[in-house]
């Protein structure tokens, strides 16, 4: 092993997160869930749409969190899997008239496969080298989608327009509201499954790889397999998020899935707290709403304002929303004592 490599692999990718600290307490979970279920009843369709996007990006951030927070691997290529998922859903819905709900598992499986395959060669890379390889994937994806021989399916640069589904069984819900609850159900399912995954034997194996790869393999963990599996699972969840995103936005085009999206998801993960799954939704809120706030402050300098806000977050609360939650918890405990 060369000296340069040693430096890179020795530095821990992320700070270890104890298992129990990965989720919220039951009480808090119920409050958040109730808020997510009840809020749409009182707000405009536009806000419901924004909440749907919040959940969708939340899922994509969660997927990255499993990969980075769980197994300690970096990825700047999540936008590529998001795009594959979105296109899978859009093509199945528009060219084959498949029901939207059925396209999501397909998108998940396709992306799992893509992620697993990409994980095979990526295995040999670690740390910043892996980040760079996935970065290349994200850069290539919009151009691959424009390729001439795929154009018949992808619509090339013009993209594909997707039809928004109506509520089934004649339920008296608007399209937006139905899609929100549908997304919410999918999100809760994936969140619970992810929490369980990280708490399981496989989750422990992933985290042991994150903490010390050599020790993990000495203990009999199949490092290669678990690393690729983490990539596959992460890609699969991102794909489902992409599929939901295509239905919510009603349009897919190569320009929607550039490297900017991958970096946004990365920002979301860091702001939410690496390795803290509930933080995903906070991170998602950050990448959706903070650009709007930045725009409100200054139209010409919105990018700079966003940068300053991001800098403040990283500087003041380097562990993101997890740190804020911990501080809140300690305060609450103090109040109880008094």
């Amino acid at each position: 092993m060369s000296a340069a490599e040693e430096v890179v692999t020795e530095a821990p990718a992320v700070e270890a997160v104890p298992k129990r600290a990965m989720t919220l307490g039951y009480g808090t979970s119920l409050v958040v869930l109730a808020a997510l279920i009840l809020t749409p009843l009182f707000v405009k369709n536009f806000i419901i749409f924004q909440m749907t996007m919040l959940l969708i990006y939340g899922l994509a951030v969660l997927a990255l969190n499993i990969l980075t927070g769980g197994s300690g691997q970096f990825s700047l290529g999540q936008s590529a899997f998001y795009a594959i998922g979105a296109y899978t859903t859009a093509i199945l819905m528009e060219h084959f008239n498949v029901n939207y709900a059925l396209t999501l598992p397909v998108a998940g499986v396709v992306c799992f496969g893509a992620g697993f395959l990409f994980g095979q060669p990526a295995l040999r890379l670690s740390g910043i080298y892996l980040a760079l390889a996935t970065f290349a994937l994200a850069l290539a994806m919009p151009q691959l989608l424009k390729l001439g021989f795929l154009e018949h399916w992808t619509g090339g640069v013009q993209g594909l327009v997707v039809t928004k589904p109506d509520a089934p069984f004649g339920l008296p819900l608007s399209q937006d509201m139905w899609l929100y609850y549908f997304t919410l159900a999918v999100s809760i399912g994936i969140y619970v499954a992810s929490v369980n995954l990280l708490r399981s034997r496989s989750g422990r194996a992933l985290m042991s790889i994150r903490d010390n790869e050599i020790a993990a393999s000495a203990m009999g963990v199949n490092v290669a397999l678990y690393k690729t599996l983490a990539f596959g699972v992460s890609a699969g969840i991102t794909g489902i998020a992409g599929g939901l995103g295509a239905i919510a936005v009603q349009f897919v085009a190569p320009d929607g899935y550039t490297i900017t999206l991958a970096i946004s998801l990365f920002v979301g993960m860091v702001v939410g707290g690496v390795g803290w799954l509930p933080g995903s939704i906070v991170g998602s809120a950050f990448i959706i709403f903070v650009p709007n706030i930045a725009e409100g402050i200054s139209k010409g300098l919105s990018g700079a304002v966003f940068g300053v806000l991001l800098f403040l977050v990283i500087y003041l609360v380097p562990h993101g929303a997890r740190q804020v939650a911990l501080i809140a918890q300690q305060l609450a405990a103090k109040l109880k004592k008094n």
Binding site: K44, G159, V161, V249, A253, E295, K299, G300
Partner: protein, 408 residues
């Protein structure tokens, strides 16, 4: 006061008179976003992101509407211009369009920019029956009133431009060998399709090479060497400003002197031909519909003088040489005309109806002879261009104004 200005005031006054006379007995009618005092107009622009250079269009429009408001507004109503940033991302455009329609409740969305962004919101706007008026993209598909009666373009479509080149080539150089360089995206491909359609059955034999480049490439030199090797005697240059300047320079370096057609997107004297070197740009042919603010021949043109005055007084921080300011000014004037025509009937339906009944309307930044005409089956406001050839340090218009209406 210039004659044009007097005329403008006179016609405004007349328009007001006609409007009040015509609707004296009619009820005032409003849809969301319009009231006795205000007309709310939405807009989506890439103020940030890869296409942020176009953001100046939105800022010009805001300045122009402010000028109109300071002068009393339109039929007594002020324009409230709500402009949001979508960073040229389609999902963000959908979010902003929904915010404008459902939260801000605008009467219409005006001049939203970018083909991907407008495609993303087109279905939504049409299902909500909210006008998506004068979109800022040259794609051909916006002229489709049968399927999308709430969407209308403004500038000539890319396809109509290359069709005009094709007409010219077929007439003057029927045996030419054509080499094409195009940007690998919707804009480049739209242009290319227009050329192929325009050449018709001769396209296959005349076009000897179609070479594409990506915007991420730092230099397009290798493509030009390849194109030169084909021995083509006509070069059709479908590139954005930075690459167009590179191509003109490189052609001179490698000594390739075909008949050079440069797309209108990059026909700016200030930002393309000057940096490329005037000596390298002689005899290039292009087509235009707007006056170029960086072209000296318009310095004493009354219409452009009015534009320069606007830039100096109302938008001093803007760059008048940036083509975006001329576009923003022209399209904002077109909207003001439509809203004037609406009178007191400010429903979304009437906005579309009035937008589809512009007759020989001119904003003075259009080239002489080009007029804006629309109808129930013609949602392409500007559909003519004029050919021009670069001589010395300016474009010389030649031939007639050529019209090429292409349906979406």
């Amino acid at each position: 006061m210039s004659v044009i200005k007097k005329l403008a005031i006179l016609s405004t006054a007349f328009g007001l008179f006609a409007a009040t006379a015509g609707t004296a007995t009619a009820q005032k009618k409003y849809d969301p976003g319009a009231s006795d005092t205000e007309i709310k107009v939405g807009n989506i622009m890439p103020y940030s992101g890869p296409a942020s250079a176009y953001g100046v269009i939105g800022r010009t429009e805001a300045a122009y509407f402010k000028k109109i408001n300071d002068a009393g507004g339109i039929n007594g109503r002020k324009i409230n211009f709500v402009s949001y940033d979508d960073a040229y991302s389609p999902p963000k455009a959908v979010e902003q369009a929904r915010k404008l329609v459902e939260s801000d409740e605008v009467l219409l969305i005006f001049n939203s920019l970018g083909t991907p962004s407008n495609t993303a919101i087109q279905k939504y706007m049409n299902s909500k029956k909210v006008p998506q008026l004068f979109v800022a993209t040259g794609a051909t598909k916006w002229n489709d009133p049968q399927n999308f009666p709430w969407t209308m373009g403004w500038q000539p479509s890319y396809q109509s431009e290359t069709q005009i080149y094709a007409k010219y080539i077929l007439k003057n150089h029927p045996d030419a060998k054509i080499a094409v360089l195009f940007q690998n995206d919707d804009y480049g491909k739209d242009y290319l399709k227009g050329l192929r359609d325009g050449l018709g059955s001769k396209a296959a034999s005349m076009i000897v090479m179609e070479e594409s480049y990506e915007t991420s490439e730092p230099s397009i030199d290798s493509h030009l060497v390849k194109l030169k090797a084909t021995g083509a005697d006509i070069f059709i240059n479908i590139t954005t400003p930075k690459f167009a300047a590179q191509a003109i320079k490189k052609n001179a370096e490698i000594g390739w002197k075909p008949l050079h057609f440069l797309n209108n997107v990059s026909a700016s004297v200030g930002s393309v031909l000057k940096p490329a070197g005037f000596e390298n740009a002689q005899d290039i042919i292009s087509a235009a519909y707007l006056k170029d603010a960086s072209d000296k021949q318009w310095d004493n043109d009354p219409g452009m003088k009015e534009f320069y005055a606007f830039m100096a007084k109302d938008f001093p921080e803007g760059d008048k040489l940036d083509g975006g300011t001329v576009v923003g000014y022209g399209v904002a004037q077109t909207l003001v005309q439509v809203l004037k025509q609406c009178g007191d009937n400010l429903t979304r339906e009437n906005v579309m109806k009035q937008a589809a009944s512009l007759k020989d309307f001119r904003t003075e930044v259009l080239l002489p002879g080009i007029k804006i005409n629309t109808g129930p089956n013609d949602f392409a406001p500007i559909s003519s261009l004029q050919l021009m050839k670069f001589k010395g340090d300016k474009w010389e218009l030649f031939g007639d104004v050529i019209s090429a209406d292409v349906g979406g």
